[in-house]
C-alpha cells in the first residue's frame, strides 16, 4: 500500500487516475441507480458497444476519438429512445443489432486507419493510468452536466421511472425525459469507458447501484451509497492492480462483482435471521 501512496505523490498519472476514479464514481452512482431501478441494463450495454463505432469513425477521420465516442453514445441513446416510442416490439432486436453492428463498424474503421492501433485495447478494457489533463477536463465537464441535469429534473425523472402513466397525467414531457435520461446514460458510459473499458462498463454502471438497492429505501440514498461503493471498488482495484501489476479495469470489475455476491448473500442471511427471530418470539402462526 505504501508504494501506492508514494506513487500517488510522485506521479501525475496516478493522481489523474484517482481523480478520474472519483469523477466516474459520481456518474456511475447517480446514473447507475436509474439504470438498475428502471431495469434498462441491456440498453446501456448496447449504447456502450455502439460507442466503438463512433470512435472508429473518429479515428479514421483523424479526429479525437473521445469526441467520436460522445457523438456515437448520444446518437445511440436517441436512436434507442426513438425505437422505444415508435417501435417498441422490435426494441430487443434493434438493441442487439446496435450492440454488435456498432462494434463491427468500429473495428472495420480502425483497421482502415493507417498506423499502430494500440488504443483499441485500451478502449475495450480501459486505460485509467493513461488519463491526460485534457481528458480529465472533459470528464469534469461531463460530470458537471450530469449532476446539473439530474438536480434540475430530479422529481420529474423519479415520476417517469416510477409511474410513467401518472407522469403523463400530470403533464410531464415523458418522452423528452426518457430521451434525456438515455443521453445521460450515454455520457456516463463514455466516462466509465476510461476506467474499465467498453466491454466492462455494464459492471461498474449497475453493480454498485444494485448493492445499494439491497440496503436503501430512498432513491437519493441509493445514489449516494452507489457512488461511495463505486469509489471504494475503483480505488481498491487501482491499489490492488498497482501492487500485483494487473490490468486496473479488470481488477476493479472483479472486486465489484465479488462485492455484489457478498452483499446478496449477506442480505439473504440477514433476512433469514430476522424471520427466525420474529417466529421464535411470537410463536409459529397458523
Amino acid at each position: 500500500m505504501g508504494e501506492f501512496f508514494q506513487a500517488l505523490q510522485q506521479f501525475s498519472f496516478m493522481q489523474n487516475a484517482v481523480a478520474a476514479g472519483i469523477l466516474a464514481s459520481l456518474a456511475s452512482g447517480i446514473i447507475g441507480t436509474y439504470v438498475v431501478v428502471k431495469r434498462i441494463t441491456f440498453i446501456s450495454g448496447g449504447i456502450a458497444h455502439a460507442v466503438l463505432g463512433g470512435m472508429g469513425v473518429a479515428y479514421y477521420l483523424g479526429a479525437d476519438p473521445l469526441h467520436g465516442a460522445i457523438a456515437a453514445a448520444v446518437f445511440s441513446a436517441l436512436l434507442m429512445g426513438f425505437v422505444n416510442l415508435r417501435a417498441k416490439q422490435h426494441e430487443d432486436t434493434i438493441m442487439g443489432a446496435l450492440w454488435a453492428v456498432g462494434m463491427a463498424v468500429g473495428i472495420i474503421f480502425m483497421s482502415l486507419t493507417p498506423g499502430y492501433n494500440v488504443d483499441l485495447m485500451s478502449f475495450l478494457f480501459g486505460n485509467i493510468l493513461m488519463v491526460t489533463d485534457p481528458v480529465l477536463r472533459i470528464l469534469l465537464i461531463l460530470d458537471a452536466a450530469i449532476l446539473l441535469i439530474v438536480a434540475v429534473f430530479y422529481r420529474q425523472f423519479m415520476a417517469v421511472v416510477f409511474d410513467e402513466e401518472q407522469a403523463r397525467l400530470r403533464g410531464l414531457p415523458v418522452d423528452f425525459l426518457y430521451m434525456l435520461l438515455l443521453c445521460l446514460i450515454a455520457l456516463t458510459v463514455v466516462i466509465l469507458m476510461k476506467i474499465v473499458g467498453l466491454i466492462l462498463v455494464i459492471a461498474l454502471l449497475t453493480l454498485p447501484a444494485a448493492i445499494a438497492g439491497l440496503y436503501t429505501s430512498k432513491l437519493s440514498r441509493m445514489m449516494v451509497a452507489a457512488s461511495l461503493l463505486s469509489l471504494g471498488f475503483t480505488l481498491a482495484g487501482l491499489i490492488a492492480s498497482y501492487h500485483f501489476n494487473l490490468p486496473a479495469g479488470a481488477v476493479i470489475v472483479v472486486l465489484t462483482g465479488l462485492g455484489y455476491l457478498i452483499a446478496l448473500v449477506a442480505k439473504r442471511v440477514h433476512t433469514h435471521l430476522l424471520r427466525r427471530q420474529s417466529q421464535s418470539s411470537v410463536g409459529v402462526e397458523q
Binding site: 431501478v37 438536480a151 434540475v152 429534473f153 430530479y154 422529481r155 420529474q156 423519479m158 415520476a159 416510477f162 409511474d163 402513466e165 401518472q166 407522469a167 403523463r168 397525467l169 400530470r170 403533464g171 410531464l172 414531457p173 438497492g213 436503501t216 429505501s217 430512498k218 432513491l219 437519493s220 440514498r221 441509493m222
Partner: protein, 243 residues
C-alpha cells in the same frame, strides 16, 4: 351545468379486434358511477380514452367540455396498486407528493403547500403515519389508500378509480367506499370494477360494459340485467353494512 364526461358514438379496436362499439356515456357533476363488466369487456380501454392516453377512432370524448388531454389537471386517477415494482426505493409520502408534480417542477424540493396537501390527503385516507415507509413494503390496502391520496392532492374535480378494492379485505373496502361517498359531495366519482356486489350500495348509477354499454340507475339493476351482461347465471350478493 356542463357534463363532466361526454362520450358519443365511440368505437375502438385493437388490431381489428373490436373492444368498444358505439359507446354513449354521460357523467353529470357529482355522479357516483360504477362501470362494471367482465374482464376483457373494454373497461380499461374506456378509462384510457377518458384519461387521454388513447384516442378514439370514431366518436367524440369530452371531459369537462375539453379533449381529454387538456382536462387532465382536473382529473385524479387511481390505478391498481399491484402494477408497481415492489422494490422501488420510494416512500409512501414521496408517492403521494408526485400527485403535485407539474411541468415546471424543477430541483428536488417540494413546496410547503405540497407537503400540507399531502399530509391532509394522507390523513383523510388514514395513512398519514405511513409516510416514511417504503411504498413497496405496505400492504395491499395501504398501497391502495396511498394511491387514492396521490390522486386527491391536486384537488381534482373528477376522480377515476380502477378496481380500487381488488385484493383488499372487506373492512378496508367498506372504509374506502364510505370515504368516497363523503368525497362525492364535492367530487364526481367513476369506479371501474369487475364485481358489482359491494359497490352497489354506494353508487347512484351503474354502467354495464361488455363491448356495448348500458347505463342503469342502481335500483334498476336486477339479476337479469347482470346475467345478460356476464352471459351466464350470476348471483348478486347484497352486502348491507353488517361488518
Amino acid at each position: 351545468m356542463d357534463k363532466v364526461i361526454s362520450i358519443e358514438g365511440v368505437s375502438f379496436a385493437y388490431d381489428h379486434r373490436p373492444v368498444l362499439s358505439d359507446i354513449n356515456l354521460t357523467v353529470e357533476p357529482k355522479d357516483y358511477m360504477a362501470v362494471v363488466g367482465p374482464n376483457g369487456g373494454g373497461k380499461t380501454t374506456l378509462l384510457r380514452l377518458i384519461l387521454g392516453s388513447l384516442k378514439a377512432e370514431r366518436g367524440k370524448v369530452r371531459v369537462f367540455g375539453l379533449p381529454p388531454a387538456k382536462a387532465r389537471h382536473m382529473v385524479g386517477y387511481v390505478p391498481q396498486h399491484g402494477v408497481f415494482d415492489p422494490d422501488f426505493p420510494v416512500s409512501a409520502l414521496e408517492v403521494v407528493l408526485m400527485g403535485r408534480l407539474e411541468r415546471r417542477a424543477f430541483f428536488p424540493r417540494y413546496k410547503r403547500e405540497d407537503y400540507a396537501a399531502a399530509q391532509e390527503a394522507m390523513g383523510l385516507l388514514g395513512v398519514d403515519n405511513l409516510g416514511e415507509y417504503r411504498y413497496g413494503d405496505l400492504s395491499g390496502g395501504q398501497k391502495q389508500r396511498v394511491l387514492i391520496a396521490r390522486a386527491l392532492v391536486a384537488k381534482p374535480k373528477l376522480l377515476i378509480l380502477d378496481e380500487p378494492t381488488a385484493s383488499v379485505d372487506s373492512r378496508v373496502e367498506q372504509d374506502v367506499y364510505e370515504l368516497l361517498s363523503r368525497l362525492n359531495e364535492e367530487i364526481t366519482i367513476l369506479i371501474v370494477s369487475h364485481d358489482l356486489g359491494f359497490v352497489s350500495a354506494y353508487v347512484n348509477k351503474v354502467a354495464c360494459l361488455n363491448q356495448w354499454l348500458a347505463v342503469h340507475k342502481t335500483e334498476e339493476i336486477t339479476s337479469e340485467v347482470l346475467a345478460g351482461l356476464y352471459r351466464s347465471s350470476v348471483e348478486m350478493i347484497q352486502h348491507r353494512c353488517a361488518l
